[in-house]
């Protein structure tokens, strides 16, 4: 797997890894039911701390994309196919939201900043909930 992670960018490494893995799964590079590389191999290939990989895998597990089977490894859920449907259903929702925002005369940058702000707030809330 040739993924390049950029530690210097603003996003944490595990988030970047999660995004890349999701992309690979969505495009079919990693199929449903396939096993992801072990934590050790992934860490050695990408030259990142194993804890980062563990965190990324846990995040994916939390989102229901992968399943951590004790002793065997990390496997992509069979139900990932269903995710593609969900993604297809989400597209029109996003489209209508963007249309409405555009009608407020916001630029693309404004929209992006708004979305990132909202996502960041949700992320913080999630992290606080996890720690508590």
């Amino acid at each position: 797997m040739t993924l390049r992670l950029n530690p210097a960018s603003g996003t944490p490494l595990y988030v970047q890894l999660v995004e890349r893995l999701k992309h690979s799964i969505a495009t079919g590079a990693i199929k449903a039911g396939e096993q992801l590389p072990s934590v050790r191999k992934m860490a050695e290939d990408l030259l990142i701390n194993p804890n980062t990989v563990i965190r990324a895998y846990r995040d994916l597990e939390g989102e229901g994309i992968v399943e951590l089977r004790h002793g065997s490894g990390v496997f992509v859920q069979q139900s990932v196919e269903a995710r593609a449907d969900v993604m297809r259903k989400a597209e029109p929702i996003m489209r209508s939201a963007l249309d409405r925002l555009e009608s407020l005369d916001l630029t693309e940058d404004d929209v992006r900043r708004l979305m990132e702000n909202e996502l960041a707030l949700r992320r913080d809330a999630q992290r606080r909930k996890r720690r508590a």
Partner: protein, 293 residues
């Protein structure tokens, strides 16, 4: 909380007038990758030499595995692997002789592992060490430090002056070590992107004093980079209380600050400026901010 592998308590050291380390205290938990950063001359090598028992502490204590490396060097050093910046391997030895010599000191030496690494690194066993390039010597030093699977791997600026491929080998060794249960790595470097990739914990030394010592995620969460835009160009840097560093010219000023202590909007209002950008600071910026203080 498991017993720390390394426990440094109020360690101070001065060489004549120069204060190399002042009141440094840190603890390294087993199983983590501990990064030590700081500019040249900040005291990283001195701290590591104290860990190895090469320097006696002037004040304070150093304990590895609960033992004092000065009083009990044999017990401590048998569980450590060490790679320094310029490994002073004897030039007259051949590669196989060095490996055979080092093997005698560590009962847990894994010959197959050492052989596999030697082949992977492309080291000719009959080559004399003085004919090896700097990178090859670093790789050889890495095998000697790693092949006995030490509980603690200490690396003192291992990558300085080396090409990216050798640096990769060293990072791989770090990750291999830490994925083995219970083994720890402490390494000092000023290549921040490497430190960012592999460290769990990070400590920064500046002029002998510890600036911060915390998990990497916490450090990155705590520091924010705020860009302010002023209506009128400012001659002097705006006085932001609680900021670690303020830099810029004219209308645009960048503030690196502790996220917990400063509220960006309030600060901007107080100064009469607008917040243009508010992001997490990169490790590079955090480092420069602390180092320039």
């Amino acid at each position: 909380m498991p017993e720390p592998v390394i426990a440094v308590d109020h360690l101070s050291r001065s060489f004549g007038d120069k204060q190399a380390l002042s009141d440094v205290s840190l603890a390294v938990t087993p199983g983590c990758v501990f990064g030590l950063v700081g500019e040249n001359g900040a005291g990283k090598s001195t701290l590591i030499k104290h860990l190895l028992g090469l320097w006696r502490p002037q004040t304070g204590t150093v304990r590895l595995f609960g033992l004092d490396p000065v009083a009990d060097p044999v017990a401590v050093l048998g569980r450590i692997g060490y790679l320094s910046e310029e490994p002073d391997l004897p030039g007259w030895m051949q590669v196989w002789e060095l490996l055979r010599y080092t093997q005698a000191f560590y009962p847990k030496w894994d010959t197959t592992y050492a052989e596999r690494l030697r082949e992977q690194f492309g080291l000719d066993p009959n080559a004399r060490i003085k004919t090896l390039s700097k990178g090859q010597r670093a790789r050889l030093g890495l095998i000697a430090a790693e092949a006995h699977r030490p509980e603690l791997l200490i690396l003192d600026e291992p990558s300085s002056g080396l090409d990216p491929i050798v640096r990769r080998d060293i990072l791989e060794a770090i990750i291999r070590t830490v994925t083995d249960q219970g083994r720890t790595v402490i390494f000092s470097s000023h290549l921040l992107d490497e430190v960012e990739r592999v460290s769990d914990h990070l400590a920064m030394l500046h002029r002998g004093a510890l600036r911060f010592c915390a998990p990497l995620d916490d450090i990155k969460a705590r520091h924010r980079r705020i860009v302010l835009h002023f209506e009128r160009p400012q001659q002097d840097p705006p006085n932001v209380s609680g900021a670690i560093r303020v830099a810029g010219t004219g209308r645009e000023w960048t503030v690196i600050c502790d996220a917990g202590k400063i509220h960006p909007a309030a600060m901007a209002r107080h100064l009469g400026a607008a917040v243009v950008d508010d992001t997490t600071a990169s490790l590079d910026e955090i480092f420069v901010a602390h180092a320039s203080n």
